[in-house]
Subunit: 334 residues, 4 copies
């Protein structure tokens, strides 16, 4: 039985708590949160003990920690958990600064503890199926990857002001997906963007509509589009064109019902947002983590994947600001 301590009992902490409840061989042993109420609620549901964060990390009853606290706390919690020898599951982004992530990597490697960066979309059954079939050679060598990602509506301006910008808070998922599907590291990044959805977003210095082109050393191409708005639900699609054919995963609709009337044939909107769309992915990523820690198997994506996505987000931000393509091939590399 793997005893897991949850650091952070907000929305994502509750998702992880529910996932752990459905996994044989793991249980929520302890929970910690800056606020009393959410920690108490989660404890009541799972039978866990409410602790302070430091106490939880130090507890002999905790084998592994799930870090679901605000991003600016990740750095200290990772260092503390690594020192305590706990296996670590950490929400993305690991940190807003690539250099600080490099520092975390040193701490984790020195401690030799398992570490998983929670890029949940890799565990979506549809996207995972696409990647597995590319890896199995069903479409031969990858040539072009297309990723479409649109949120149903923009977040509050307050969030945007501190998020690091669209390329870092939203497209970072797509950068990880691009790496997952391309099978090679991107070497150039070109980003464009505009504020078409809400002028306040533009005034806050960010974009709400953006597109990026990545290329790899062998010439593979990835195009990504992002929008903070989609009237028809959470738009999450990938398509991969290869030597022998094409693999794609479409949206997940609310149901399979179709109505036909004089205006045509109509299906339901896409599932509303990430909690519905990625419910199965959240369960699968936690099962992968538990299995990896318990059976001492390779866990992926790891902390280096967290760094590489952050480097791409930084480069895209720079490309947009400079209106120029950015090369990632540097003398001393990333």
């Amino acid at each position: 039985m793997l005893n897991i301590g949850l650091l952070g009992c907000g929305r994502i902490g509750q998702v992880h708590g529910r996932s752990i409840g459905q996994i044989d061989g793991a249980r929520v042993a302890a929970v910690a949160d800056a606020l009393e109420a959410p920690a108490r609620t989660l404890a009541d549901k799972t039978g866990a003990t409410v602790m302070g964060a430091e106490e939880l990390i130090a507890s002999a009853d905790v084998d592994a920690v799930v870090i679901g606290t605000p991003t600016n706390t990740h750095f200290d919690l990772i260092h503390a958990a690594a020192s305590a020898g706990k296996a670590i599951f950490c929400e993305k982004p690991v940190d807003m600064s690539a250099d600080r992530i490099r520092d975390c990597i040193k701490a984790v490697e020195a401690a030799g503890v398992p570490f998983m960066t929670a890029f949940n979309r890799r565990f979506d059954p549809n996207f995972a199926n696409v990647q597995a079939r590319i890896a199995a050679g069903e479409i031969g060598g990858v040539e072009i990857v297309t990723i479409q990602s649109r949120d149903p509506s923009p977040p509050p301006i307050s969030y945007i002001q501190s998020s690091g910008g669209l390329f870092r808070d939203m497209m970072i998922h797509d950068f990880d997906m691009a790496r997952f599907l391309l099978g090679e590291e991107p070497v150039t990044v070109y980003a464009v963007g505009a504020s078409l959805v809400d002028p306040e977003i533009g005034q806050a210095g960010d974009v709400d509509t953006a597109a990026v082109t990545l290329t790899t050393e062998s010439g593979r191409i990835c195009q990504i589009t992002n929008s903070r708005r989609a009237s028809y639900g959470y738009d999450q699609r990938i398509e991969v064109h290869g030597e022998k054919g094409m693999l794609r995963a479409g949206n997940v609709l609310e149901n399979t019902v179709e109505i036909a009337t004089s205006t045509g044939f109509r299906k339901a909107p896409a599932q509303h947002f990430f909690l519905e769309r990625y419910e199965a992915a959240y369960r699968a990523e936690m099962a992968h983590f538990v299995e990896g820690v318990v059976s001492q198997k390779h866990i992926s994506p790891g902390i280096v994947d967290g760094l590489r996505a952050q480097i791409l987000a930084d480069a895209a931000t720079r490309s947009f600001e400079q209106a120029a393509a950015i090369s990632l091939i540097e003398p001393n590399g990333p």
Copy 2:
């Protein structure tokens, strides 16, 4: 060059004229119609000579006739054309009476002329593809056939009063399709129906909503539904379930465009009616006839297929009237 004489220059005659114009090795040599205007129009377009029906059938310049006149004239025209040694392409139904069709069969067989009953749907590229793949064994032995057929809106009451009823004027196409797909002759027929679309149709003694179940000797099953109404266009679908899988052909929509909004994902209605939906089928059936006559190849569906569909339509009508299943296995058979 096959010289074709068109008997009947109404809507369907014009369709066939247009088809012949696109076939290498055939031309419209002569046209005949009870009315001057449509014959003249078609002649102008095709370079054909306007003649009387008898003159056309007798003309040495005509190798084959296309009969697109009202059903009650088919009998005499078939006999005359057979006597004159012309190849015959005849619109369905061959005749409203199975006995009179049997008489036509004798005349055609005595004359030894090629004869094609114009069940155009067999030549729809989608339905033809389904049948060819059944024949090629892609789904193994056929078990269940489902046919859905709905017109966009009911015909005028005057038409219904003389059409012989839904089972004979509309479902006859589906009976032929059932035989085409089942690969065996039906041995039982059970029909139900009601007047749900327009009470006047009921008052005229017909139904506008109907369903039929057919079974074959080996136990294969076919279910057919018909309606005189479909708000979403001409509804024409077939589905065949076999030992190894299922083959189906869906509707043909007006275009491939899809719109996504807050109400979901919407595609265009189905193509409006038979002239659009079966445009390619009309061309293909005429090409099959021309090729068959010119190269002395087997032409199918033939006149016996016209008879068998009529027998099924008669049996369905009887089943509906008697509210009982009808067996087609009789001492002296059909």
Copy 3:
């Protein structure tokens, strides 16, 4: 908190136990099974007490019972639970004999206890959506209902020998769905069938391929097809044609991935069988039961729905045996 006692801890009992675990306001309080092991497993997972069936029904700690035992035990358990004043959730079929179900109805009505017949498909989010939209008038008056239902592969011959036959053990779900969608009671039943999948099924006196036509008093039509075989997964589709249009719910595929190669565009098979396909339906039906009992709201489908489906299954069996349509309009009604 509604305290539920599970009678039967086999596969379906475990499904219901899992569902209850996800419903706020309900818990598995007690479990009973003829075998020790499955009862113990379920108890460990849920914190329930293992009891004998009689003890469980009599227990003051149990407010409601879920009957998931073999069909031939339902009769006695229903009577006992009704006498004990417990709310009852009973797997379908309520009993193999319509007369014995009538006897159960009397007991349940005399006791005044809530009763739910577990026709889970009514709670499938797709099918429920179709029914709700019919009820809301989206397609106007219903005209034709088409139900396709195919299992991935036949059950063991031993099951078939005691199941009452395809019309009673498999198509009974479709009879309930037909009533759910037609909005009127069927008044005629016509059934055909054959043994095309496995000759042993035919030798056991049953069919594996079948079709039924139902009509209602106002003339609405329902066509149902069943097969014990479908290579492409569990085939579960409904389609309803009405005055203003058509509503349909297609299959649920294993994922949304599509591959395009020289052979075309290929999607995944349908979800394999009922445990995957109806996972959400099982949760929703139990939530409906709990909500109904706790809030004293109307629970549907009730015990009379169990009777009506059984009457249709009996009539279909008779129709098949007699090769004749059966009328359900009798002097003293069903």
Copy 4:
């Protein structure tokens, strides 16, 4: 009756000849080709007179010319036809040099003759429908356009050596489509590409896999991908995301048939190549030209559209060669 002279009787000339044959109010009056045979064949089919190119342009029997000759002959033919006062329908590209196209524009404007640049895809019923609905405001202001365009297989190396490269010979269609859908002129172009399909293409100095990003002054974004290879047929898709929703046009498959087996649900490949896929578009563009000339209505796309697409293709080529984004906003503009 509009008398049309065909300059060039190769594959595309024959397509236009066939289209004219189906348009009321127009006929092929004269044909010219460097080779005798194709001119003779087309003349036999249409009743046209075979002439030399100069004679044809000068002929009083010719009201309009269709230029379907090699690109390097367009310049002289356009000047001659404009001088002769003929309406001009010209295959794309108008010329390989933007400056020479500017020269043609002067000649055409001086002569005041109608001119149509044959960007056939604008007349595809699916793409035309998308554009019309954008114009009608169905999705509000355009935000992101995605265009996917893949040929089934690469052309011969000899073609590639003289075509001007992928951005000019293949993506030029997509540049015109981008302008058609964006509703604004692009102001920046960024292109990437590689030779992944055939190394010989790379050795010939071209790419076979490419992607371009365009932006407009108001911030609208267009992403285009091209490949010289697609195993699943001719891949031609557009998608437009706007304020209120999304419009897209998918591929046109060979038929509507779907097979379901243990490997899933499979549909036909996309129609093989442009002659099948754009058959209706070729008819519609010619009908638009004839209608425009006869009724003196606005004809679009015109010669300036030919120039603007060429400017984008030149800029993309430059962007690829320089590995840098190109701005099209220059002091004296294009």
